[in-house]
């Protein structure tokens, strides 16, 4: 019994250390951040070395999987614990030469570099989770209490994948679509990636290192495309396009309304970039155009034209005056129009497009697919038939919106 207890403690300790290593590697860990130092939070390992530690051509960055670092190469001896610590903290290579100045010197203690080193030793296995000899296990989000919609989404995704791949296999492996509870990221730890998560549920998955494809809803625009790829415009892109639309409609004072001062400020900047001479105002009565960015109450000015996103319109409880002009920005015009044409629910079209993107990523990632390669493979992908271009828009593939008058 005591042996079992000790084994459990050892396992828990290992798991905890591994998680800390992941958090350090990806800049999530609250490690030492002395003033003026380049910390792991600002310059995490993965941004240069890749989430798989394979290095990158930008900056000629070397691979840092421990299986590579720990053995001698043509131009250096193998690293050990002491030399690894010195390299990370002092920028001195195993052979005593200075490392590239592009490599930050991190203020980590020995226990922290040991944790990081242990994580590098597990990267190979972590990156191949969900990749089995005969199948690839990919999660598809389920919505609690909406089994029919969830099943329909998964079925449409499977059909789209099959059409794009000519069957349910890629490089000889079957694709297994696994239902994933969007509120339980921990249950997805052994999957290759997750598809169709609501945007609000994405962060806990990506923080665990799970790639997320085609979330449902608008991303903010600040997310990391090495772990997350969408198929609809981000909120930033939506606001920029809406600002350009509003700015070109005349020389009238504009009022921007949002509960978030940062959002309001960012939109005002976008407006001034699109039309430097266009007047902006803080007073509802002066405004002839009012832009509402969230569920804020509509300012009292029935003569003003209102510009609002579809999501904000749906979230608001207050209503406009009966004869007030409302212009609605739709962030998924392609999906909506395709749904109208096909007389189906837009979520079904979303699933079809998610399937198309996943199929392209799987084909491009190759036989030795990993979590990092899956998303990296989308880097140059252009899907003309569904209007996605990841070379131009790495995070979302598109910035297309439509602004239409509300009937």
């Amino acid at each position: 019994m005591r042996g079992l207890f000790l084994a459990a403690l050892l396992f828990l300790g290992t798991a905890s250390m591994a998680q800390d290593g992941h958090e350090m590697f990806t800049g999530q860990a609250a490690v030492a951040d002395p003033a003026g130092e380049r910390s792991l939070i600002r310059f995490p390992c993965h941004t240069c070395h890749g989430r798989d530690g394979q290095g990158g051509i930008e900056g000629d960055v070397p691979p840092i999987e421990w299986s590579r670092l720990s053995v001698a190469s043509a131009d250096r001896p193998g690293y050990g614990a002491d030399t690894f610590h010195r390299a990370v903290t002092e920028g001195i290579a195993v052979d005593g030469r200075p490392l590239s100045r592009l490599m930050p010197r991190y203020a980590l203690n020995r226990a922290e570099t040991d944790t990081l080193r242990a994580y590098l030793g597990r990267l190979h296995e972590i990156q191949r989770r969900g990749v089995l000899s005969d199948r690839l296990r990919i999660g598809v989000a389920t919505i609690p209490g909406a089994a029919e919609i969830s099943d329909g989404y998964r079925a449409a995704l499977a059909k789209s994948l099959s059409e794009r791949l000519g069957g349910d296999r890629v490089y000889g492996r079957q694709i297994e679509l696994v239902p994933v509870d969007a509120t339980q990221p921990g249950e997805a730890h052994d999957l290759l990636a997750v598809i169709g998560l609501p945007v609000a549920a994405v962060n806990p998955f990506t923080q665990l290192g799970l790639p997320v494809l085609a979330p449902v809803g608008a991303l903010s625009g600040n997310e990391d495309s090495s772990i997350l790829r969408g198929i609809t415009p981000s909120r930033d892109a939506l606001h920029a396009a809406l600002a350009a639309e509003v700015a070109t409609k005349g020389q009238r004072p504009i009022l921007v309304v949002s509960q978030d001062p940062a959002q309001r400020s960012a939109f005002a900047l976008a407006l001034s970039l699109a039309a430097p001479d266009r007047a902006q105002t803080d007073h509802a009565k002066e405004a002839e155009d009012i832009v509402v960015l969230d569920a804020s109450p509509l300012p009292q000015n029935s003569a003003a034209r209102v510009w609002i996103t579809w999501q904000s319109l749906a979230a608001r409880s207050t209503t406009a005056a009966p004869d007030q002009t409302i212009m609605v920005a739709i962030e998924t015009p392609r999906i909506v129009s395709d749904a109208i044409t096909a007389q189906t629910h837009p979520i079904q079209i979303h699933a079809q497009e998610a399937g198309a993107v996943l199929a392209e990523a799987l084909k491009a990632a190759g036989r030795d697919v990993t979590r990092a390669r899956l998303l990296r493979a989308l880097g140059d992908t252009v899907l003309v038939d569904i209007g996605l271009d990841y070379a131009r828009f790495p995070l979302t593939g598109t910035e297309e919106i439509a602004v239409v008058p509300m009937p």
Binding site: C48, V61, S100, R101, L102, A270, L273
Partner: protein
């Protein structure tokens, strides 16, 4: 008066460099820059030969806003330098995009805000043709932007004397070089 005092302090902190930098990390070059029109992070047109650069010592790096690997490190060096320089020093920091097709003024403004750029630090984009002419003159016209070097260039348009970093410099090294050149 305050400006003079600040400059005096700034230059006094720099090592004595009678004929350029003391370290071998910068290569000296003569570069003639074309007149091109760029757009800064506030969507203002900026003639490269004009108020932006007249009488200014320039510290220039080249980046693109979707670069998440080495560019942020170079920008961090610029941010440190921005903080080090006296507020009235005749020094202009320029971050010039190597991806004008995607780097709109709005993207440049967002990146400038991320690195806390002061008024002296301009983030410049423009039409691909204008930007390309400038990058070619700086020998920073990379065929593949992903393969760009983290190069820094320090100098002024009037003398056409410039110093090119051979590796990514420390902010203090840039500050020392700038101080030696404006002495």
């Amino acid at each position: 008066m305050i400006r003079t005092a600040l400059l005096t302090l700034f230059m006094a902190a720099a090592p004595a460099l009678a004929d350029g930098p003391a370290t071998a990390d910068f290569a000296r070059e003569r570069l003639a820059m074309p007149q091109v029109t760029l757009i800064d992070q506030y969507a203002r047109e900026q003639a490269f030969h004009g108020p932006l650069t007249d009488g200014q010592m320039l510290v220039i790096n080249f980046n693109y806003t979707t670069c998440e690997s080495i560019c942020p490190i170079g920008n961090d060096v610029m941010a440190e330098l921005d903080d080090m320089l006296p507020i009235d020093a005749p020094v202009r920091l320029l971050s010039i995009t190597i991806d004008p097709g995607r780097d709109t003024p709005a993207h440049m403004r967002k990146a400038a805000d991320t690195f806390g750029a002061s008024e002296r630090w301009s983030w410049l984009t423009g039409t691909p043709g204008e930007v390309s002419r400038l990058l070619a003159a700086f020998d920073a016209d990379f065929a593949n932007i992903v393969l760009h070097d983290p190069v820094f260039i320090v100098g002024d348009l009037q003398s056409e004397r410039f110093y090119r970093s051979q590796s990514i410099p420390e902010a203090q090294e840039l500050a020392d070089l700038v101080a030696s050149l404006i002495r």
